[in-house]
């Protein structure tokens, strides 16, 4: 219980620190329009000549983009790997090592604080765009599916924290990982389905993606929230849960093996 209080405190600190950057909040909200505008213009042109594409109607497609844009906006753990990498390289990672909390737990609590802060603003932005673009928003009606989608979203966010933490501590071995992180960002935007729904890809490709965790981070929760792919919900939770366990194992092994390489003076 006392342990939890420490993490709650970290979370509170990060919620408060977001208030110092109010303009960032407003602009983050405004720039969520870019993805919706992309979908509106691209699919608007496509749906002028047909009624459905890969079983999506125009408003179904835009509902998907509203939810996936909202979820991808909430996923803010990308900075964790950059922060860890920079700290290891300049020798100030010691600041985290001397804290009386687990370093991974610290970053997870930080992510919870930031996500909680942005949650209502991103929700507000999503509602504004639904209104502005006059989208007939489709939403799942089954409480079970919604529950699964919510749980999958939380697990997905946690997995991304784990992944970024893992990539960050790889700096202990590889020293320079910034190029790799940028490539990762490009690929993640494709495989999480934030550019286009993965349902547009050939069945074989989707089959392979189902084995990867990214399918369950943004794409499947977005589909579940918009009332599709309900039959994949439970399997999705199991697969993502297994990936979280696997990633935790990778983190523990990597940390134990390479922690001793850190000498606190920078590389």
């Amino acid at each position: 219980m006392r342990e939890m209080r420490k993490y709650r405190e970290i979370m509170h600190v990060y919620i408060k620190s977001q208030l110092a950057w109010r303009a960032d909040v407003v602009f983050n909200m405004l720039f969520t329009v870019a993805k919706i505008l992309f979908a509106w213009l691209l699919w608007g042109m496509v749906f002028r000549e047909r009624n459905t594409v890969a079983d999506f109607t125009f408003h179904g497609m835009l509902s998907y983009y509203i939810v996936s844009s909202f979820l991808s906006q909430l996923e803010m753990s990308g900075g964790i790997s950059g922060e860890i990498s920079a700290r290891i390289r300049n020798g100030t990672f010691s600041n985290y090592m001397v804290m009386p909390v687990s370093i991974e737990g610290y970053f997870a609590a930080m992510e919870v604080g930031v996500v909680l802060f942005y949650l209502c603003f991103d929700l507000l932005a999503a509602m504004v765009w639904i209104f502005v673009f006059r989208i007939q928003f489709l939403f799942a009606r089954s409480a079970v599916v919604l529950g699964c989608a919510l749980l999958m979203t939380v697990l997905g966010l946690f997995f991304m924290v784990q992944l970024n933490y893992f990539l960050g501590i790889l700096t202990l071995k590889y020293e320079e990982i910034s190029t790799f992180l940028m490539i990762k960002d490009n690929l993640v935007s494709l495989v999480t389905g934030t550019i286009v729904p993965l349902a547009l890809f050939p069945e074989g490709v989707v089959g392979v993606m189902r084995l990867l965790p990214f399918y369950y981070v943004t794409y499947l929760p977005s589909m579940l929230f918009t009332g599709r792919c309900a039959e994949e919900a439970v399997r999705g939770l199991v697969v993502l849960g297994l990936w979280c366990v696997l990633m935790q194992w990778a983190i523990v092994v990597t940390w134990r093996k390479y922690r001793v390489k850190y000498d606190g003076v920078g590389v």
Partner: protein, 262 residues
Amino acid sequence: MKYYRVWKALLKIRFQNLMMFRLGFWGPFFVDGSLFLVQLAVFDAIYANVDRIGSWGRGEMILYIGTFSLINAVNMVVYFFGVNGITSKIKSGEMDLYLTKPVSPLFRLTFERMNPGSLPLLVFSICIIGYGVRAAGISVSAGRVLGYLFFLGIMILLYYEMEVLIRSVAFYLVSNARMEQLEEAGLELCMNLPGIAFYGIYKFVFYCILPYGIMATLPVQSLIGEMSWGTAAFGIAVVCAFSGLTALVWRNGMRHYNSASS
């Protein structure tokens, strides 16, 4: 001639500097290469489900991606890393050093951080364009190729001007982070969406205010024979207008520059 010698010296220094970090040397190529591969995969997935987007088929879209990739490749090889530092140099007062040199500060800033590591991006982009031409089944004539190269050239200039213009805002404001965020959002949108998709207010914004919408669209339209004389004149007029604006903002900015207190 003097500027050519300075350019050669800058390239030599930069090469020596880059070779110290050999893995990072190819970094921009891998990052941007992966970005455009992702785009190709995205449009391949879309065209697996639809025949045409507006008047463009799969081939035209590949050509569009290749052209945007080529404009970006020139940007990465020649000026991006130099121009990108303008904001921090204004804020830190480091611009003083550039004012004391016997060459134009903008010339030196533009060419001091060239990146030969991005050269494979040029080859990669030309391959995509070749593939696009083949997939679109375009009959390529000398006139069309010249038109394409002409519009490609002036759009590379426009891209450069937009980068300088946005970073020159730092001469007047404490922070231009929002402007750079706007640039990023506009570029991301227009890399994924050809100009033919814009209409009404969106067309005005992405053709006239943030003209990223015309950058790869006009060269492609000239190559596939879809460009009218009016569109060609409009494209040239936009580039001229932004050239004038960039020169004006940069010159006034330099006068406005107050060393470290800017």
